[in-house]
């Protein structure tokens, strides 16, 4: 039933060349997440704003420690102390998740947004059968359902992610890494959420399994038309899976564009280095990023956050924080290297 409506929704997105305001499932505005440490707040996510359209898959890339997981956890309202959401809005279907508390928040979780966790290896309860872990989720949110109906539904979910039905009665330790990850995907779509967040869904897996899991995700997206945020540094997976790509650096989004557009032309110097260092996209090249020059996330930096590592740094970069501007059609970048018309200055 929902499949038909979501497929319709997908069609409209595909027909529409430019997504309209009302279609945004998720609208994040000026999100700030800080971790309190003895030597001051770590500004792990600092003024991040972006939108996810209905049925769209957003890729979130950037080197490790740039704040991808923290962003995901903030959307799920699962930032653990000493972390806290220090500001901003997280509007999901016009409800600001940042304002929700108690049962309102609990009931929103999984019915509207679900998580495919980063550590699929340890994300399943080791002492519960796979079926029980999906069951308790459905029962908690939908109340009493007959055992037969529930079983049928779970078997369908397993089938959808390409798992054999014997997985139903298995414990996590009896599954391989890829199977565990697909069990997590099955669980994530059990309640037909509007948004699924997948945190590095393939990074702990070996290459062959990575592709299978990637295809499973793609399949789920095509069948259910669910919106997703996929975090990872696997550019191959990104190219295969996502519609738009957000490049994150030191707690900020520095470039955000349709995936073809970004692979065609990287506007931000960081994105250029990031793409150049991927052996699978262009021919093998050593990582050009200079290590050890990242700025301390505890200090609020005057000007552009990438200035310490940027090969094109200018005077203005040290004074003014570059705003996100659409330099090409739907292609936004935060860099002083371009004028308002998207012409490169030097």
């Amino acid at each position: 039933m929902t499949a038909a409506t979501t497929i319709d929704a997908m069609d409209t997105v595909m027909v529409d060349s430019g997504p309209s305001e009302q279609d945004a499932v998720l609208d994040i505005r000026n999100l700030q997440v800080f971790y309190a440490t003895p030597s001051g707040d770590v500004r792990a996510v600092d003024n991040v704003s972006f939108k996810v359209q209905r049925g769209e898959i957003i890729g979130l890339v950037g080197e490790s420690g740039c704040g991808k997981t923290t962003t995901a956890m903030a959307i799920l309202r699962l930032v653990q102390p000493p972390g806290r959401i220090a500001g901003g809005e997280i509007n999901l279907d016009s409800v600001n998740l940042a304002d929700l508390e108690g049962d309102d928040l609990r009931e929103t979780r999984w019915t509207k947004l679900s998580l495919i966790p980063q550590g699929a290896m340890n994300s399943l309860n080791p002492v519960m059968r796979i079926s029980s872990q999906i069951k308790d989720t459905i029962r908690t949110h939908e109340g009493r359902i007959s055992n037969r109906e529930l079983k049928e539904r779970i078997l369908q979910l397993l089938q959808l992610v390409g798992l054999p039905s014997r997985v139903y009665d298995m414990y996590p330790h009896e599954l391989s890494g890829g199977m565990k990850q697909r069990a997590c995907i099955a669980m994530a779509i059990a309640l037909d959420p509007v948004l699924v967040i997948a945190d590095e869904p393939t990074s702990a897996l070996d290459v062959v399994v990575q592709r299978v899991v990637g295809e499973t995700l793609l399949d789920v997206k095509e069948r259910l038309g669910v919106s997703m945020i996929v975090i990872g540094h696997d550019m191959g997976l990104m190219a295969q899976l996502v519609d738009r790509l957000a490049v994150m650096y030191a707690g900020r989004i520095v470039e955000f564009a349709p995936v073809e557009s970004i692979f065609n032309e990287q506007l931000h110097p960081y994105t250029q280095l990031l793409i150049e260092s991927i052996p699978s996209i262009k021919e093998k090249k050593p990582l050009k990023l200079t290590e050890g020059l990242t700025h301390d996330l505890r200090t609020h930096m005057q000007g552009c956050i990438f200035q310490l590592r940027c090969p094109h740094v200018m005077d203005i970069c040290r004074e003014e924080n570059p705003p996100m501007r659409a330099l090409r059609s739907r292609h936004e970048t935060a860099c002083h290297l371009y004028d308002d018309d998207g012409i490169r200055l030097h």
Binding site: L115, P117, Q118, S123, V127, T137, M187
Partner: protein, 338 residues
């Protein structure tokens, strides 16, 4: 798959038998290594008391034969093992016509009841308190008053028992100072008897529970903190499960596993401790009779009770071993790793 395989069961049963056999052999060996022998010692004591006993040498020989202490050691050993298998533990030396099995039969149920109730209460309450202390969703004021219940953990249980007796039994006379049920109460399934048993058993149980639950609480608190940092706890929260369900089925359920292992490892100490508690409270269980047997040098009773304790602890460990793979599916019966 966690199905109890015959192989696993037999291996565990083998371990159980081995433990008991080694225990029985030690019981057989140790008294024989000591200088002198119990029969001579006893007859000498009788001589001291009566002044003179006719044919004391014959008497000693006769009693030796009676208690299976004559003949070469391997014959003695074989006879000894056979009698153990037949659960024939012989006669009391000090109270001759009384059979050791009768003494054990009378006292074992009390020990078994008291120790298992005390252990279950202590394990249950301790683990629950520890888990709540570690659970961030428990209101802070509750988490702060919980440690108060662990105040007595640092006191040795026998000292706590003496405290309880001197105040609650002797000074205020709220509880009896000894015995397992009151005089004039008809043993059986009647309310008077049951109430009397509870009244008599409360202080011994309390002294064990109050002084030992802190051990479980501290272990559980640590485990629960560790478990709370696991990825599956984050996912459980992301799933929007109710806090209570996460607490029991994700938190406690996983944190409990090492605690059960610790319980199995501690059963010997638990049994040993309860013997002293029985002594303090004059509670007529195995420990009480063991003490009586020791002061009257009643070797056969000592042997019988010690043997019983070994069988009891080994059996409890066997049961935990067989149950463990059911609570932790990662331990498979078939591979026999527990």
């Amino acid at each position: 798959m966690s199905e109890l395989t015959l192989g696993y069961f037999l291996r565990r049963l083998g371990m159980w038998l081995l433990t008991i056999w080694i225990g029985a052999t030690l019981i057989f060996t140790i008294p024989r290594l000591a200088p002198g022998d119990p029969i001579t010692a006893m007859v000498e004591r009788m001589i001291q008391q009566a002044g003179y006993i006719e044919n004391s040498a014959d008497l000693i020989e006769a009693w030796r034969a009676r208690f299976g202490l004559d003949g070469p050691w391997h014959v003695q050993y074989r006879n000894y093992l056979l009698s153990m298998v037949r659960v024939d533990l012989g006669y009391s030396l000090a109270n001759f016509p009384a059979r050791v099995t009768d003494i054990i039969g009378r006292s074992l149920p009390w020990t078994l009841g008291m120790v298992s109730i005390a252990t279950i209460l202590s394990f249950g309450a301790g683990n629950l308190i520890g888990a709540l202390m570690a659970w961030r969703r428990v209101p802070a004021f509750i988490r702060n008053i919980l440690p108060v219940s662990l105040t007595f953990t640092s006191i040795p249980f026998f000292m706590f028992g003496i405290l309880l007796i001197s105040f609650l039994a002797f000074k205020w006379k709220i509880f009896p100072a000894f015995g397992n049920y009151g005089r004039g109460v008809e043993p059986g399934w009647n309310l008077d008897f049951i109430l009397s048993v509870l009244h008599h058993g409360l202080l011994p149980v309390l002294s064990i529970v109050v002084t030992s639950m802190g051990f479980w609480a501290l272990g559980m608190r640590g485990m629960m903190v560790t478990t709370d940092g696991e990825d599956y706890m984050i996912l459980a929260n992301a799933k929007g499960l109710r806090s209570r369900r996460i607490f029991w089925f994700y938190g406690i359920r996983n944190s409990m596993l090492p605690q059960v292992t610790a319980l199995a490892l501690n059963l010997g100490a638990v049994a040993g401790g309860s013997l002293l508690v029985e002594l303090i409270f004059g509670y007529p269980g195995l420990g009480y009779f063991l003490y009586q047997a020791i002061i009257s040098a009643d070797y056969t009773v000592i042997q019988g009770i010690v043997f019983m304790l070994i069988v009891g602890v080994a059996t409890a460990v066997l049961i935990l071993d067989l149950l463990y793979p059911m609570i932790d599916p990662r331990i498979t019966y078939s591979k026999g790793q527990a």
